[in-house]
């Protein structure tokens, strides 16, 4: 697969009053053409910061961002000027956010907000843009798109608002779409519909997708490759089937055990003991060691590197688990 995005050694630091927060530490990320990559992890592990850094949306200052390369569609955009970035954003890579209610401007009609995309990136007149907007809304499955385009965000249902965000993100047929928890704010039935639409659009438009989520059932249903993040670092990377069949990092195992399964007769699910370390006070060695039942002295002292396991798998653990159990 021809890669669309190659992110190398991304580091993002937030200086705050209560210490320096290393939100993202040396993250590498590869997204292939038309691939759907999922980024999963508990709240606060740095998923949003990573995904926004790809579009260079994290404002530095106040943040300090360092990156070796952001290779996008064959060009390194890490040194692009703000103007160049503006041209790129929305047109070649775009973003879908979690809460469509707050992510849409409350005093502008949704139609006008989508029109902006065509007017900005395709040089359309207001009228041409509106025609395209109506088509886009229709494609995304919004009933009565022409009248709905004149609605304000608060006049639409949650599912419809999220569809508006989808239509906006796909407006200019970008190469890459980053969806940051696109369905978390919706109830389960609507979630499934919106995900289906997202997947359908992604396939239809030939777009690559970076899906940020902490919902493993979403990952299982649409991702090709999964990156698991913990406390600012990637701890495991694997094709989706392999990850679900044989998770190798104890944290991944814990994450999966924490998902209640309907097929599970006992209907119990276990929690990973302990909590995520405070981002300004991370432990020594492997960040996961205080919560890991297999931790040894080595784990407490040294951060394990990300180690290739073959078959496109990588894991940051000295004692990766195999299908049979811990070695």
């Amino acid at each position: 697969m021809e890669p669309i995005l190659k992110l190398r050694n991304l580091k993002v630091v937030f200086p705050t009053n209560y210490g320096v927060i290393r939100a993202v530490e040396s993250v590498d990320l590869d997204i292939g053409d038309r691939e759907c990559v999922a980024l999963v992890g508990e709240s606060g592990c740095g998923k949003s910061v990573t995904s926004q850094s790809v579009m260079r949306l994290i404002e530095s200052p106040p943040a300090l961002t360092q990156v070796d390369a952001i290779e996008f569609n064959g060009r390194d955009i890490k040194d692009y000027t703000p103007k160049q970035m503006q041209e790129l954003r929305g047109k070649e890579m775009s973003m879908i956010f979690q809460d469509a209610m707050t992510s849409l401007n409350p005093v502008m009609t949704v139609g006008n907000q989508i029109d902006e995309m065509y007017m900005r990136h395709q040089g359309d007149s207001k009228k041409e843009a509106r025609e395209k907007t109506v088509k886009a809304l229709e494609l995304i499955g919004l009933p009565e798109p022409r009248t709905r385009a004149n609605s304000f965000p608060h006049q639409l249902s949650g599912g419809m608002r999220q569809r508006v965000l989808l239509a906006m993100a796909f407006a200019c047929m970008p190469k890459l779409i980053i969806a940051d928890e696109p369905t978390t704010a919706l109830d389960v039935t609507i979630q499934a519909q919106v995900l289906k639409t997202l997947r359908g659009m992604q396939r239809g438009c030939g777009t690559s997708l970076l899906l940020v989520t902490h919902d493993l059932s979403v990952v299982a249903s649409i991702a090709d490759t999964v990156y698991v993040m913990y406390s600012g670092k990637i701890v495991e990377k694997a094709p989706v089937k392999d990850l679900f069949n044989s998770p190798q990092h104890p944290y991944t195992v814990g994450l999966m055990a924490a998902v209640p399964r309907l097929t599970d007769k006992k209907k119990t699910f276990t929690q990973i003991p302990g909590t995520v370390p405070h981002p300004a006070r991370k432990p020594s060695g492997c960040y996961f060691h205080p919560r890991c039942e297999y931790a040894t002295d080595k784990c407490r002292k040294e951060m394990p590197p990300l180690m290739g396991q073959g078959g496109g798998r990588e894991v940051r653990c000295y004692y990766p688990l195999t299908a049979g159990g811990n070695m």
């Binding site: 926004q52 579009m55 949306l57 703000p82 970035m85 503006q86 041209e87 790129l88 954003r89 929305g90 047109k91 775009s94 973003m95 956010f97 809460d99 707050t102 992510s103 849409l104 401007n105 409350p106 005093v107 502008m108 902006e116 995309m117 900005r120 990136h121 304000f152 608060h154 006049q155 965000l165 906006m168």
Partner: protein
């Protein structure tokens, strides 16, 4: 939906105004059997009979000789014809005439202060928000801190002393012929401007700073909202984001504070008018108060409350234009 809301707001304002009118009618009648006693309190050196005669005359003159219900009807009828009653002043001038004579002079000060304050304040506030944390912003922060400790009348005294008495740049004291000798000529207008300079200057500094601070905070609050990140992710130009997305939303709280200050346009500068001997509404009210001129006080109160209700109504209606969410009742 929008129109029903607008009509509802207008009806509601009328209702509140009706309540205010009624209160205004009853306040002088509360706690006394005879409103004539309120209007003409007994004085020490007066015999019973003398006082009875005086009260008799007062009742006749102010229409207290009919039943309270009838008085109320007469009062309402008068209001509809623009009659706010008669003042106690010699010659029994109509309250409405006294007010109309002073109102323009107060508006000269308050409206110019507000216009200057709003325009410069908003511009400066936006600048401070854009240059957040840099010297422009720090300057505003320091200025607002200082302003907290400097009331307008204090500035007024200082300006009056230095620019008025010492340097004689502007009149320290309003020239009493400014009003009586006013004509609609350049010369007349120039004289008003000259006399208004110091009073306006002493109020405008605080006005600019408070609008600037309010605008800055509103703009920064909106800048941190999710939809601004969306706008950036869409690749919109900085200027589009700023004017189409941020400023429009920041205007909402600013309109509210604007509405508040509109209601202060008439009665908000009693002290400044005193310092500069400016013959406006504030001075009129003090005069009425000092001479126990009940009808005049009530007339001014009615005007002030009516104007406040009007200002709030206008604010709400402007909000309807700016914020589509208002009509469903989930105003932020």
């Amino acid at each position: 939906m929008k129109y029903t809301y607008v009509i509802k707001r207008i009806l509601y304002s009328l209702f509140v105004f009706a309540v205010v009118i009624t209160l205004n009618f009853f306040i002088p009648r509360i706690g006394v059997d005879d409103p004539a006693e309120r209007y003409y309190p007994p004085q020490g050196n007066m015999s019973e009979i003398e006082y009875e005669i005086i009260k008799q005359v007062t009742r006749q003159q102010y229409g207290f000789h009919v039943s309270t219900g009838q008085q109320y009807m007469n009062y309402l009828k008068g209001l509809f014809q623009g009659d706010l009653g008669t003042s106690f002043r010699p010659g029994s001038p109509a309250v409405i005439d006294l007010i109309l004579e002073r109102l323009p002079w107060t508006l000269v000060l308050s409206v110019s202060t507000m216009l200057i304050g709003v325009t410069i304040g908003i511009l400066f506030g936006v600048l401070a928000a854009v240059k957040r944390g840099r010297w422009q912003d720090t300057m505003l922060l320091n200025a607002s801190t200082i302003m907290v400790a400097l009331p307008a009348f204090f500035i007024a005294l200082i300006l009056s002393f230095y620019l008025g008495f010492e340097l004689e740049i502007f009149p320290a004291y309003t020239d009493s012929t400014m009003v009586s000798g006013f004509t609609w000529t350049w010369e007349g207008i120039r004289r008003v401007a000259q006399n208004a300079a110091l009073p306006v200057l002493s109020m405008v500094v605080g006005s600019i700073i408070s609008y600037a601070q309010g605008t800055r905070n509103a703009v920064i609050a909106v800048t941190n909202e999710d939809f601004v990140l969306t706008a950036r992710a869409k690749g919109l130009k900085q200027s589009t984001i700023r004017y189409k997305h941020i400023l429009r939303n920041s205007m909402l709280p600013i309109v509210t504070s604007l509405g508040m200050s509109i209601s202060g346009l008439i009665g908000g500068q009693v002290v400044i008018e005193q310092v500069f001997n400016w013959n406006g509404m504030g001075t009129l009210f003090l005069e009425a108060n000092n001479s126990n001129d009940y009808p005049l006080m009530m007339g001014i109160m009615l005007l002030l409350s009516g104007f406040t209700i009007f200002a709030i109504l206008v604010t709400d209606l402007v909000y309807v234009l700016l914020d589509p969410r208002v009509t469903v009742g989930d105003k932020r």
